[in-house]
């Protein structure tokens, strides 16, 4: 068994005051200066630590308040009110919700799992990943202790093609050639960003992060410059330019390369493999209704790794797009059905926003995932997409310090890793590899609704 995978975390303070859900609306005039709010009522010392951030003109009252309402309820002149914070509501969009963004910030800052008191306060269920629940083991099944336990739960996965059977020579020696496989200690690689402020600092943060975590970051061939070149061992080059310009020496510093699904990606795969046989080649495939057939075809042609990508909302292409979780199930089950699923690695990406999405997409059939926006969010991105429109970044991501950025990424991934362990532990599953495709250990909204509620109101 490999040594226990552990991600070092350390507090990486925010550069900007947090944008929180609610703010305090306090009328200064009429304040009796009785100091109840300061001295007695605020156990979080929010009022005593008051400070104004010049860049955002944001009062720390807003970002440090924990919503206990004691000041609101005890102010003798009823001068303190609370209101929802407009800036919070403006974060992200319907998919990248303010709740998701702020939880990502918390994890990136602290490296800790978000823990809170009281029961779940969110909606009963929702679209996409919110329409499924994962299983747990009770009494009748062996279980695991999760992150606090003594048993080791592995989150390692393999990227590459697997031989389905070994052939032995007359002397018992293995004669079949095993394709190259790259092991990553957590089922996550870093993808290219759909949008980002320009410059090297963000890709460098990703590469530093990948290095620290033992995983890889996908970098466009066109973005390679002398600075990025230093980090090629932790990069997966995405071939968006002339394959001919990728010379053998450069290829040899790589472990994985990604090619677009074009006219003949297999030919490209062969070309790279001929130059560097240990190279794992990933084919990047836009998720679509045709993905299952295309995947099957490519596998039959010798594809090793398929990177199935949805858009930033987890949707495939087409007019009536399916969500990544559904299409992944579809592709996975199709490949199982055709008996080829175990030969390849499927990596899903697009719309992965939370740790739970990781577990859920693996249950739906992915071996690993690629993530993008959460890494940017870990560096305080507000998913405002101003960069996409050419407007300057409100949190100055273009000149972020890559060391700080990579620390934030590491913290985030540490928290995600721990959460994956919690899920695996609760299910009594010992390794992430075993979670793949375990749809029987999940509960789906559509099934349960039909089973439970459809019969209501019927007499007799």
């Amino acid at each position: 068994m490999p040594p226990k995978y552990h991600i070092e975390t350390s507090q990486a303070p925010n550069r900007f005051p947090k944008i929180t859900r609610s703010g305090i609306i306090a009328w200064e005039e009429g304040c009796l200066k009785c100091a109840r709010c300061v001295k007695k009522d605020c156990i979080y010392q929010v009022y005593e630590k008051r400070d104004l951030d010049d860049r955002q003109m944001l009062d720390s009252l807003d970002s440090a308040c924990m919503d206990c309402f004691r000041c609101v309820q005890n102010c003798p002149n009823r001068l303190i009110h609370k209101g929802l914070n407009p800036a919070y509501r403006a974060l992200g969009d319907h998919y990248w919700t303010p709740e998701i963004i702020s939880e990502l910030w918390f994890q990136a800052e602290s490296g800790r799992i978000p823990v809170s008191g009281a029961g779940y306060g969110g909606p009963f269920s929702g679209p996409g990943f919110d329409a499924m629940w994962t299983d747990m083991s009770e009494i009748v099944r062996p279980t695991r202790d999760g992150i606090h336990g003594r048993e080791y739960i592995s989150t390692t996965v393999d990227i590459g093609r697997k031989a389905m059977a070994l052939e032995f020579g007359p002397g018992g020696e293995i004669v079949s050639r095993t394709p190259p496989v790259v092991e990553i200690p957590l089922p996550v690689i870093f993808d290219m960003l759909p949008w980002a402020p320009p410059g090297d600092n963000i890709p460098l943060s990703f590469l530093y992060g990948a290095l620290a975590l033992g995983t890889f970051a996908i970098v466009r061939q066109s973005a390679i410059n002398p600075i990025i070149r230093e980090f090629l061992p932790y990069a997966i080059i995405y071939v968006d330019g002339d394959p001919g310009s990728l010379h053998a020496q450069m290829l040899r510093s790589l472990k994985i390369i990604e090619v677009p699904d074009g006219e003949d990606p297999i030919a490209l795969q062969k070309r790279f493999k001929s130059m560097h046989p240990e190279l794992v080649v990933m084919i990047r495939l836009r998720l679509s209704p045709g993905a299952r057939e295309r995947s099957l075809y490519l596998i039959e042609q010798g594809a090793e790794v398929l990177h199935l990508v949805a858009d930033e909302y987890g949707l495939e292409g087409g007019s009536d797009p399916l969500f990544i979780k559904e299409r992944m199930k579809d592709v996975h089950l199709h490949l199982v059905d055709r008996g080829v699923r175990d030969q390849v690695t499927l990596i899903g990406g697009g719309g992965i926003a939370m740790a739970e999405h990781m577990a859920k997409l693996i249950i739906c059939g992915a071996d690993a995932l690629s993530i993008d926006i959460p890494l940017l969010v870990s560096m305080e991105c507000r998913v405002c997409r101003r960069c996409k429109e050419g407007i300057s970044c409100p949190v100055g991501l273009d000149d972020v310090d890559p060391l700080w950025g990579s620390l934030r990424i590491r913290n985030l991934m540490a928290a995600w890793h721990s959460q994956l362990l919690e899920i695996l532990g609760a299910m009594g599953i010992r390794e992430a590899r075993r979670l793949r495709g375990e749809m029987g250990r999940a509960m789906f909204f559509e099934d349960l609704e039909k089973e439970i509620f459809a019969t209501m109101g019927k007499r007799g």
């Binding site: 200064e28 005039e29 009429g30 304040c31 009796l32 200066k33 008051r50 104004l52």
Partner: protein, 224 residues
Amino acid sequence: MITAERKPMAEIRAMLAPYRKILVVGCGSCVAECASGGEKEVGLLASALRMDAKIEGRTIEVREMTIDRQCVYEFIDQLTGIADRYEIILSLGCGAGVQAVAEVFPKMLVIPALNTTFIGETKEPGLWVENCRACGDCKLGYFAAVCPVTRCAKGLFNGPCGGSKNGVCEVDPDSPCAWQLIIERLENAGRSDLLEAIYPPADWSRQQGKGPKKIVREDQRSEG
């Protein structure tokens, strides 16, 4: 509480003109309550001073600090080790605060940013009214808890002057005639008899005796 008002900027600027490193010290007690010398006012004044310097092309260093009370050594001590890094202390305390700070830092120049005005009451948000002159010989018990020393323009002890009309003072028509109030309150309380008495001249020595007044409470004093 003790109330104060910020001095005109021109006066503060003139006093500060020769100095570059300024420690602006607020007081979290009375002057914070009357919105003249608390943390916020310190912030505002510091900001104004910085801008003023920028306008004139000067570079100044302004540090803002607000202590709980400028008239108590224990709180002033928070400035120890900081104050001597500055050339001057601009105090937003009352007169007592300014002097107490100066006493703790004998080598430093301390200048007031406020005019200490009076002992008053918060009538309503943003309105403070004087109602005690600290005469040291409180007679409110005879005057139905309305102080004629403070609230009558002439400090009359024996009834209103001839200028009282419609319940207001001739000197300041926005102020009620203190004697009108005294008379009403005593009548309401059934003590009109107190109105007939002649009150002898006050003992002002309790207010301005020999130098500063002192109070000594032996039980409150420590041995050490």
